[in-house]
């Protein structure tokens, strides 16, 4: 499995998979939501370090998690996005919605 979940101080770090498509998104969504709903984490960091591909399924995941995290008063952050992922985030308008570092 190339996706990992680590919680530290109420913040969930998700190491995103190599390829973010509809197939991968369903599993990742379920896991993140479990951490949020159980109260284990309030904020989420999506780490794109290993990710080389993302399509609109990934955008749907980010928008959905942004809504959810905002309900819990937390923050959603994306990190280590390569130029390709940045382009997808920019084109979809998600770049203005979440914090990207």
């Amino acid at each position: 499995m190339d996706t990992m979940f680590t919680v530290r101080d109420g913040c969930l770090l998700v190491t995103m998979p190599k390829e973010m498509d509809h197939y991968k998104v369903d599993m990742i969504r379920k896991s993140i939501d479990q951490y949020l709903l159980s109260g284990e984490a309030q904020s989420v960091v999506l780490d794109f370090e290993n990710t080389g591909f993302m399509d609109s399924s990934g955008i749907g995941l980010i928008v959905g998690r942004h809504k959810m995290v905002s309900c819990f008063g937390g923050k959603l952050v994306a990190t280590h996005a390569n130029p390709r992922i940045q382009k997808i985030l920019l084109m979809s308008g998600v770049k203005d919605m979440i914090e990207i570092i």
Binding site: G60, G64, M91
Partner: protein
């Protein structure tokens, strides 16, 4: 450029296909795990055009969107039927052509389906960006669909013109 109503589009496409320098087609089950498979096949096929990494990423994204649409929308509620996706790729000189076809429910209103952010599946957190991405990343996009008779997405892109 999006073309929606051009009666001779099929004919033009088939003429190009006959004149193709190289052609391949593939049929696979409409399963999410085949999304990655379809992307890799097209990426491997287009290496003969010596594409930039960016051009390859553009095509992979467009193919991924089209195949995902077939799986999520094309075959919704048709689980008993054999669910297959037909994919065709060919190249003419420096142009790559890709057709993604399903044999599912069809699209009632194509122009509405193609509007950015329009989705019939907000509950599944679909972003409604699928066609917008195909349009943005390919040079030409043409969608043909009939209720109950499936959907064909034709796309083409010139490679190496940047």
């Amino acid at each position: 450029m999006v073309k929606q109503k051009e009666s001779n589009f099929d004919t033009v496409w088939n003429e190009k296909k006959l004149a193709a320098d190289n052609f391949c087609h593939l049929e696979f089950d409409a399963l999410p795990e085949n999304e990655g498979f379809a992307r890799v096949v097209v990426a491997a096929f287009m290496t003969q055009l010596d594409p930039l990494l960016e051009e390859m990423d553009d095509v992979k994204t467009a193919v991924s969107e089209a195949v995902t649409n077939c799986i999520i929308h094309g075959y919704q509620g048709l689980e008993q039927k054999k669910m297959r996706i037909h994919m065709e790729c060919f190249r003419c000189a420096n142009e790559l052509y890709v057709l993604i076809e399903d044999f599912g429910v069809g699209i009632e209103n194509i122009s509405q389906a193609m509007e950015p952010l329009f989705t019939t599946k907000p509950d599944m957190e679909r972003s409604g960006m699928g066609f917008a991405f195909m349009e943005a990343f390919m040079d030409e996009l043409f969608v043909e669909s009939q209720i109950g008779n499936g959907t064909k997405v034709y796309m083409s892109k010139r490679i190496g013109e940047k």
